[in-house]
């Protein structure tokens, strides 16, 4: 059952009825039926507004955007969760940002460093504590390249001066120290945390080696991968693909990233900045373009169709060698992709999918599903802005449901009515839909699988969607003694 725009609008109205009037009016502005001809979303959709109190939003906070998304995966730095113990502990290890290295020795991404605020820190301030902590890190983890300070709620409320501490201590220990004002009450979601983190990259890292002689020679084929957090190894799958077409990847931001890879960028002046997650890293990309003349290009490595399209768009920015390489690589992988599609498409054809994810996946994965013959009937973002929806309309079929910052109630109601064959969303949603008997994949953590990027990733993606939808468990929800006898429906109807 694919709905047209009118039917979708109707459904939205029905679901809105449960809300108190004022709340319903607000929520109505975040829901719509897709119109692929629209260029701009600002006339029909309100985004990036405060989540309403009490509605059970899926959103996180600025700290999650800064420490969790942007800074956390930088592996050779220690990211201090500065404040009480909870935030750092609750977010430890949840995102599956893969790194290589020796944990606790030269990489620290998997660990949790906390200033574990006590009452006296809240009353008297935490700056002294922070200074001591930086020294202790430097003593116990001598190979650490730098330190970031990720502020939790109390820090901004008690008037600490973490910038001053950062400057002072950086001088003393001779390492990069980055203060991030990403307190959870700032902004309306993770999104502000991305922005804050980008600004700190700009102000405290990127220009650190300006004026120094480059230590590595640049080549005409240098690129940097930005906004790939290496969830389950995604950035690596993308990286090998970039390399296979003859490009040299000089840096990954920030999945499996290092401080050096950030600091080397201005001197290496890569030809192109390949931007994966626009939402979380567009700010620094714009800055690098303006300050260092490094242009950026958004790309999509989900599914063979989008991969080919993106590879060609990338190649167009380089010479014939790269363009020829791209055609060769696409051709070489064709057989493997054909085999994947031949195997899985018949098992997935026509299946209807609802998505609700974070930064870019609500639009980026659509092509991969379509390569498998599946159909997206609804999509939405937890914390997108209008520029994200601008980029979504044309990817999505006419009449599909769009929900911005959907509440738990809305998602359940929509799923109940649309009866999708698969839902792709997060851990908070997963088990609700398991109970309802709807196959589900986590699309933040890849449900402990991945990578899903690149050709290697698409094979895994196809396999995973198949196992989610076609596992025998979904058909067993009703005990046999409660199942209607075959033909009973017909008999009743007659």
């Amino acid at each position: 059952m694919t709905m047209n725009r009118q039917e979708t609008e109707q459904l939205i109205q029905e679901v809105l009825e449960v809300y108190p009037d004022a709340t319903g009016k607000q929520r109505a502005k975040h829901l719509m039926a897709n119109d692929p001809t629209l260029e701009k979303s600002n006339k029909c959709l309100v985004t990036n507004k405060k989540a309403l109190p009490g509605v059970m939003t899926a959103r996180g906070c600025a700290y999650a955007g800064s420490k969790g998304v942007v800074w956390g995966p930088i592996k050779d730095m220690v990211n201090i969760s500065h404040g009480p113990v909870g935030c750092g502990q609750l977010s430890r290890g949840g995102r599956r940002n893969y790194v290589t290295g020796y944990s606790g020795i030269n990489v620290f991404a998997e660990m949790n460093f906390t200033s574990d605020f006590q009452e006296k820190d809240v009353v008297f301030g935490g700056d002294k504590k922070l200074a001591t902590i930086i020294d202790e890190i430097n003593t116990l983890f001598p190979l650490v390249k730098g330190i970031s300070i990720q502020s939790e709620c109390p820090v901004g409320l008690i008037g600490d001066d973490i910038e001053a501490v950062a400057k002072q201590k950086a001088k003393e220990i001779g390492k990069t120290i980055v203060p991030a004002r990403c307190e959870g009450f700032r902004g309306v979601s993770q999104s502000l945390g991305h922005h804050v983190a980008n600004d700190t990259l700009r102000d405290w890292v990127l220009s650190n080696r300006d004026g120094q002689e480059p230590t590595i020679e640049s080549t005409p084929y240098d690129v940097v991968l930005t906004g790939d957090y290496n969830v389950g190894g995604d950035a690596w799958a993308s990286r090998v693909l970039m390399e296979s077409i003859g490009l040299r990847v000089i840096g990954q931001w920030s999945g499996d990233g290092t401080l050096s890879e950030l600091e080397l960028i201005p001197s290496l002046k890569p030809k192109l900045n390949l931007l994966h997650c626009y939402r979380s890293m567009n700010y620094i990309s714009r800055h690098m373009e303006e300050k260092y003349g490094i242009p950026w290009l958004e790309y999509n490595f989900f599914g063979p169709t989008q991969i080919a399209k993106s590879l060609r768009a990338i190649a167009a920015r380089f010479d014939e060698t790269i363009q020829a390489n791209v055609e060769r690589v696409i051709a070489e992988n064709q057989a493997e992709m054909d085999a994947i599609i031949a195997k899985f498409r018949p098992r997935l054809e026509g299946k209807r999918v609802m998505l609700f994810v974070g930064g870019l996946r609500p639009r980026h994965v659509i092509g991969a599903y379509e390569d498998l013959g599946m159909e997206i009937i609804g999509t939405g973002y937890e914390f997108a802005h209008n520029d994200d929806y601008d980029r979504t309309f044309k990817e999505l079929q006419d009449g599909a449901l769009i929900y911005d910052d959907a509440t738990s109630f809305e998602l359940e109601a929509f799923a109940e009515r649309l009866k999708p064959d698969l839902i792709g969303s997060g851990i908070k949603e997963k088990f609700v839909f398991h109970k309802m008997g709807i196959p589900f994949r986590q699309l933040h953590s890849w449900d402990y699988s991945g990578p899903y990027h690149g050709y290697d990733g698409f094979a895994i993606f196809a396999r995973d969607m198949d196992m989610a939808i076609n596992n025998p468990c979904w058909k067993k929800m009703t005990p046999p003694w409660k199942q209607k006898a075959v033909g009973a429906d017909l008999a009743e109807a007659a």
Partner: protein, 70 residues
Amino acid sequence: MPSVMLRNNAAGDLVFYITKKDQEETVVALEHSGPNAWGGEIELADGSRFYLEPFAQTPKLPMTVRVKRL
């Protein structure tokens, strides 16, 4: 006086990016587009209009500038 970034997008259009609002709009009309003057009145795809003190030459983009809302 909002701070905006002017840049050319992949399609070659001039794009107006309002930093504070994370909002991107295509420029549909630019009063002076060089070579001796660049700037003046700017009209965006959504109909809003701004004024940019004209430059003597065509500037190198991208560039962050202050503009006046008209």
